[in-house]
Each structure stands twice: as C-alpha cells, then as structure tokens.
Assembly symmetry: C2
Homo-oligomer: 393 residues x 2
C-alpha cells in the first residue's frame, strides 16, 4: 500500500485533430425554430377554434409576397419563401407587379383581410424611396419589421407595443424585429452565446461582439440589438469603428454609441468572443489572424467572408444564415397574427366590461390616444418579468 499503483490504461479526453472548430449549418438551427413555429401555429389554431366555434378549421396565416424586380436574389428569396411557407403550413401568394404599382398593391393588401402579412422583395427603387414603401406597409402586417414604429422600438430597446403591466388578461403585443438581425440573434441563442442564467434583456452581458457591416438594413440594427441585450459591440465599416454598449455595468436602459477614433478592425477583433460578418462582394476576406482563440464566427453575407483558415482559430463557425432568416420571417408572420389575436381579446374584454371600446388600446394605426413616449412609462421593478421579449425568449 505504501507503493501506489502505476496509472491504469485509460482513454484520452480529446484527440489531436487538424482543428477543434465546430461548423454549424443554418439548416440545423432552422429546424429548432421550425418546431417552435409549428407549436405556436397549433396553439394559435386551438385558440381561434375556441373563440369562433363555427369555424372548425381556421385558415392558416397567409403571407403575400410582392415582387417588382428581376433581381435574381429577390426571386430566389421569393421562391424560398413560398417553399418554406408550404412546408410549415402557412399560405403564400406571390404578386408580380410593375414598380409603379407597388404602392397601390401594398395599400390594397393592407385593406384585404385575406392577407395576414406582407413582404415586399427589395430593392425596388433603392434608398429612401424603398424606405418610404416600407412605411406604406401596415404595421399590423409588417412581417419584415421594417416600418418606422418597429425600427424605432428596436433602437429604443422597447419590446412591447403596450405596457406589459397593463391589467388585461390579453398578452402584451410584441414589437416585430427585422428578419436578418433577428436570425443572427436566434443563432447566437442556439450557440449558447446568450446566457439563460442571466435575466432576459441582459443575457449578452460580458460578451464582446464585432459586427463587420453597418448597413441600415442589418449591421446597425444588429449592433444595437446585441448592445441592448448587454453586449459590448464593435461595429466596423469602411468609415471606422463604433462601440455600442449600455455603459458601465450595463446600467443604461438602451445602448449608446461611441466613435472609436483611430480604431480599425486590428484593434477590436482580437477583443471579441463573437465576430459577425456581412460584407457584400467576393473580394472581402476577414483577416483570421486577428481572431481571438476560440472565437465564434458567423457570416450573414451571401459571399463567404471568412476564408477556410477561420477553422484554425474559431471554436464555432456558421458559414451562412439564409435558411434561418426565412424561418424567422415566418416566425414574424406568426407573431403579427398572435398580436392581432391579443388585440381582439383585449377589445372583447373591454366590450364585456361595458366600457367604450374607443378608450381602450386599439390598433396603432387607428388610435393614438393611449400612446406614450417610452420615457413616460414607469421603469419596471421586476426586470425578469418585463423583459420577456421577441429577442431572447
């Protein structure tokens, strides 16, 4: 006994390998979201059946696509939308129209109860004129989350369309987030970058993220969303580096932006746990020698922004996200239908209480009486209850 035995035959824990990077395809992540959406759709159908006993088989949510260009990417997106709708049990109609008919087509669809959601395949004119069209779509049918109300809420870190503490039994309607940034967030949740031990709304606290792209459509909203969830975000584009954070100890209610004078990707990339790229064009390749050991790398560009060497340093690599984005679009469609259900429930409650329905919360398009600026809403005391939201739930 005084002579301890020599070590016993054993199995090594981790074999030497060319790299330790786990490549995760968008399809794998999309499948998880598909199950969630299907469960949500089933619940919605049950709810609708119990509300309207005469309708035994409720119509599935119906998405209208409006295509007014010959852009092959837009056409592919339209085809994929149709396929995914059918796979998941949603209805889909595509209208192909001339550019100068888009506005009236949207207005007609806004008013047509057949359609629950509307997606317009951009670019049509590009720039400000497309932004104008995005605001023509009714917020009640905006599944892309591109109307001003939703964009404003997103930047302001406002997650509900009414005060979640209202006394109604109807669930508070959730603000809609733009599809591609939300797809990235859903990917980060799947990858356990969001820490579920932390309270909703703070689950990226301690994470440092680099977003290479600061477009108004994806890069800037994404940086804002991640910072609103507690991350320290470096937003990088040709004009330089900006830092998005909720300040020291994430004490602020929403993110703030600081220009990092003189900084380049060389300064911020090595600090980052997560690097997200979305640079158009084949020419751009992320300089992988700047990656922190074990960084998580996600590319949302249709081009491969990361060269193969990414696997030498990254712990996780997601080479493309398109399949998640399209599923998130349908998640948003389900969300606008759920919001409408909540709205109906609220109106029913108000009628049954004998109150004049016109004083209650109504459609944001038809009634602004109950609206308040976010700063007028009292700060909630129980964060974990009030931060349940479309982002991290």
């Amino acid at each position: 006994m005084s002579n301890p035995p020599p070590p016993v035959a054993a199995t090594a824990a981790a074999a030497p390998s060319s790299h330790s990077c786990k490549v995760i395809l968008a399809n794998t992540i999309a499948k998880v979201l598909v199950s969630e959406i299907q469960a949500g759709l089933t619940a919605l159908n049950h709810q609708r059946q119990s509300q309207h006993q005469h309708e035994h088989v409720p119509q599935p949510p119906h998405l209208l696509g409006i295509l007014a260009n010959a852009d092959p990417a837009a056409q592919t997106y339209a085809r994929w939308t149709e396929k995914t709708c059918h796979d998941l049990g949603f209805a889909y109609t595509l209208l192909q129209v001339e550019k100068d008919s888009v506005e009236e087509t949207i207005l007609a669809a806004n008013a047509n109860p057949l359609y629950d959601g509307i997606i317009v395949y951009y670019p049509i004119y590009g720039g400000r004129q497309d932004q104008y069209l995005q605001n023509v779509v009714s917020v009640d049918k905006d599944v892309e989350g591109l109307s001003h109300l939703y964009i404003f809420n997103m930047y302001q870190n406002v997650r509900f369309l009414e005060n979640a503490e209202n006394p109604s039994a109807a669930p508070a309607r959730k603000s809609i987030l733009p599809c591609t940034p939300l797809a990235v967030i859903k990917i980060l949740e799947y990858l356990h970058i969001y820490n579920p031990i932390l309270p909703y709304g703070n689950r990226l606290f301690g994470r440092t993220v680099c977003v290479v792209n600061r477009s108004e459509v994806v890069g800037r909203p994404l940086a804002a969303l991640l910072a609103n969830d507690g991350a320290c975000v470096y937003s990088v584009d040709v004009s330089g580096v900006q830092q998005f954070t909720r300040g020291e100890g994430i004490r602020k209610r929403k993110h703030e932006v600081v220009d990092k004078e003189g900084w380049t990707i060389e300064h911020c990339a090595p600090l980052c746990d997560v690097v997200i790229t979305g640079v158009p064009g084949e020419a751009y390749k992320f300089p992988c020698h700047l990656l922190k050991e074990g960084a998580v790398c996600i590319n949302f560009s249709s081009e491969k922004n990361f060269p193969p060497e990414v696997k030498e340093r990254a712990s996780i690599y997601v080479p493309a996200i398109g399949k998640v984005t399209i599923v998130v679009l349908l998640r948003n469609l389900l969300r606008v239908v759920q919001n409408r259900q909540a709205q109906l429930q609220l109106e029913q409650e108000q009628r049954s209480e004998g109150r004049d329905a016109s004083h209650g919360v109504s459609s944001p398009l038809s009634n602004t009486k109950t609206q308040a600026q976010p700063e007028l809403v009292p700060a909630p005391t129980d964060m974990s209850a009030t931060t349940m939201n479309g982002v991290a739930s």
Copy 2:
C-alpha cells in the same frame, strides 16, 4: 399612410438599477446536483436488485469519515458530511481516532466491505505526510480523488480507468476528480460557462479564466482541469502568473504550462471572462477595478475574497461554494460504487465467456497486467463519444 404613426406606449426592456450582477448561492446549484445524485442512486439500487434477486433492499452506499484533529473547519466538514449523507439517503459513520492510528484505521477500512467510500479529514500532519496517507486509501474507496492514480489521470486529461472503447457491455469506469475543483466545474456548468454546443472535453474553448490560488489541493488541479477542457487559464499566486492551455487551436491532448515572466494579476485579470479566487485569510481582497465588464466571479475561499464592489462589474457572482463541494463528495461516493458495479459486471461477463478471469481487467490494486501508459492508448477518432467524462457530463 404617408405619415407613419408615432411610437406606441411601450415597456422598457431593462430598468436602470444599482447593478446588473446576478448573485447565485451555492445552495441553488447544489440542489440540481442533489437531484442528479438521487436519480443515480435510484438507478443503482434497481441495478443491484436485478443482479441479486435475494437482496430486496440493497444497502445504501456507506461513507466512512476519519477525523483525527480538533480543527474546527474539519469538524464542521464532518458534521456537514453526516447531515448531507442522511439527507440524500447515504449511510455515514464517523470514526474519531488519534493521529497515530489513522494509517491502521484506513487499512482496516480498505479491507472492510461495509464501507464503500472513505474520507479522511485533513490536515492531520500536513504536507507530505498527509499526501502519504492520501495514498494509503484504496483507490476503490477514494471519494476525495486524492490518490496518485486519480491525480495523475486528472493532470494527464485521462478520464477513464480503462479504454472506453473496450468491447465489454460494462460501462467504462470513470476516474475520480478531487471534490473542490470538481465543485467549481459543476458551478461553471450550471452557469453555462461550459458551452454544451461544443464537444465534450472542449466546452471551455474560447473562455479565459483566472484562478487566484495555486495550491496542490485546489488551485493547480483546477487550472489543469479547466485548461484540459479547452480554456485559457491564468493561474496566479504570490510567485507569479502561469498560463495553462492546450495550445493554439486547443490541438494538444492535455494542457501545458507556460511561466508568464513579469506578469501580475494586473496583466491577466482584465483578459478574463471568469475569475475564481481561493485565497486563505481575511486580508486578501480581489482588486475589482481589474475585472472585465460582465466577468463571472466565483470564490472558493472560506473568506470573502471579493469585496462588495464586485457586483458593480460582474455579471454573475458566486460568493461561496461549500455546499456544492459536499454534494460533489457524495457524487464521488456514488461514482466509486458505480465503478465497482461496472467492475463486477465485467468480471461476470468474463466468467460467462469461459475465459480465465485473471486475464481480464481487474481492480487497479490487484492487477496491473492490462495497464498501459496513456500514450499507448490509440487516439480516439470520435471525440464526442470518447470524451464523455466525469467533468463535463
């Protein structure tokens, strides 16, 4: 429609608060482990009943405590062991003996089939003489994971007592890890610092951890375990800073250690996602201004190594770990009993195959014929299968 509606009343996502740190008590984490242990105990009892039909109520695993000092900390530990054993359905016996009877008491307990596990409450002599006693305890009953075999396996990143790919139906016996380091690992798992998306054995890849304490009992083994699981670990004590890693791209099979000449806590703490302290004495307080925003802070010292300001910067703070450690001790007791069951199953298989049992894998104490140095074991090709282990499972 051309004039989008103003923003609607809404709920802010995160209220301003004095800090955003989540304090998590050891008790909360211990409860999760208790459920796992109780499930394991139930499964073990079923297995024993089916193997020995005549014994209808198998005896619960029995832990022997040997106390040979008047150290109040050791006495408290002994009392807590007894209470926790009884709460969880294990049997416990405490023997209080004189220092010079400890060795013969251990030898008698090694040979006594009544006892499944043995814990000796150190210090007895301190230093090398205590280390000698740790090796007197039979490895088959060593619930503290302090015998040389287990310590050697731990540093070598060897997680099983035999090749996990052996053709037997009996599960491969797992090496036992020392309680306090394992408790810290279980806490890091609970806190989602281990990323379950990554393969077993690599789940800390991308994490940077600081361990302030490099004792042979906790600090050094802990740094080694974390580095073996893929982390970059800075081990800090009065003599300086060492870095433990599995090298670039965690390509190495086990950790290696590099002296960081001239480094102090000032250099490494700001790089760390996780800071773990275990400094004895009231005087030591971790310099919280060095913490990275949103760091995770865990203290395993019986003194409060973090001052209250830790909450100003940390995302998660675990002020003490004792209750987890004691539950991990019983997890180890269950593990040695499970290992013995696996051993019995293997021996039965070999007998039923008509082979001479003496050629099979036997107790590490009684038979060394099948033992091989770890480097002789072929590297497994499927990492996710072969790295299931006591650490990250």
